[in-house]
Symmetry: C2
Subunit: 216 residues, 2 copies
């Protein structure tokens, strides 16, 4: 809940408490604070790449992704369709793995896409980063097809420790993180980050995401 | 705040209220309910296209987009990079415009992309829908370039009435809405939908989004 809403709630409470005893009022305030605290852990921030505007308090995509990666303690999951020209992200992933974070990358791949993707994005992360991460893709055999055209692994998101989720239109490319018009949200706390981790775990468990080695 | 968190808050309150008078307890509960209600208007739902999994309570992308479009009363903004094979969405947009909703479509375009995009997505919506919508794109002259490659209008989102926001990796294509792996979130209430509407208004005001006519 935003602070403004909490303040409004307290105002309302005080206005309704003219005939309350001090002890009642204290109990009501303690209660309101407890309820407020239980919801306070979830924030939603708009994340934007594109022309700056005067009044939008948004985070830039590159900045939000960097913050999420750097904030991961135990497990970091990053998914993307395209990967290109992102040395900063590769370094941040390397550093996360180096400090003991389990890093899982879910990427579109040459083999998984049945050759529809001709460029192996994972290789853009560099050997040293790749050696420290687990790579997953969607095997071609598990993809639905329509009119001979197989589905794509097109999701772009990042989750840190079941607590922080970035979903976005932005691929892991220099253009997407700094140049294009891209929109997403950074969600801290609440159920959504946990749900996405469970989704990934289930997709791995049922064979819709499998480990792979990038084509050189 | 999720119902579970509210219930936990009430449990905590009751546990701490052994020596409270009934009147104090009532005041505390009223207060908690008021604070809870003030935060209740914001929900975050994970939105997914891809293989189903047993335990994820997600919405499908097609379903979430349809719900958002059908729920719009005054103004509907839909942004996408690609548009292809989406008769259902075209019909939902037509119906929204027909019931008086101002429908604004923000799309990548042949001209805006400087020919990088060779297919005019907007035409996939059909003449009757297009006649009832305002079309916006990012003019080439306003796009930053790196090494001769211009930025893309790659954002994919929808906002209804400043109250409901879908941000996603999914383009307005049949594959994205029903076949690929795509992730997003549907946010109802709170600041994020309003912030995105302000962003669009500012981009239009400063000339980064301009009306256009699709190349036939």
């Amino acid at each position: 809940m935003p602070a403004a809403a909490f303040a409004a709630g307290v105002d309302e409470l005080l206005a309704a408490s003219v005939d309350a005893t001090p002890r009642e009022l204290a109990a009501a305030l303690r209660s309101a604070a407890a309820v407020h605290a239980s919801g306070r852990d979830r924030t939603v921030e708009v994340v934007w790449t594109g022309p700056p505007t005067p009044r939008l308090p948004v985070r830039l995509t590159a900045q939000a992704l960097k913050q999420l990666i750097e904030g991961a303690h135990d497990r970091l999951i990053v998914a993307s369709f395209a990967v290109y020209d992102i040395e900063d992200v590769a370094l941040a992933l390397y550093n996360a793995a180096d400090r003991g974070v389990q890093v899982e990358l879910i990427l579109e791949s040459v083999t998984g896409s049945g050759g529809k993707m001709t460029f192996e994005g994972a290789t853009q992360l560099g050997r040293q980063t790749l050696e420290r991460c687990q790579l997953f893709t969607w095997p071609l055999s598990r993809r639905p097809t329509v009119h001979g055209s197989a589905a794509s692994l097109h999701a772009k998101f990042a989750v840190a420790d079941r607590t922080c989720l970035l979903t976005t239109s932005a691929n892991l490319t220099g253009h997407a993180l700094g140049l294009n018009m891209e929109l997403g949200v950074l969600i801290t706390g609440g159920e959504a980050p946990r749900e996405v981790v469970r989704l990934v775990d289930d997709l791995i468990a049922q064979g819709d995401l499998v480990g792979y080695t990038p084509v050189a």
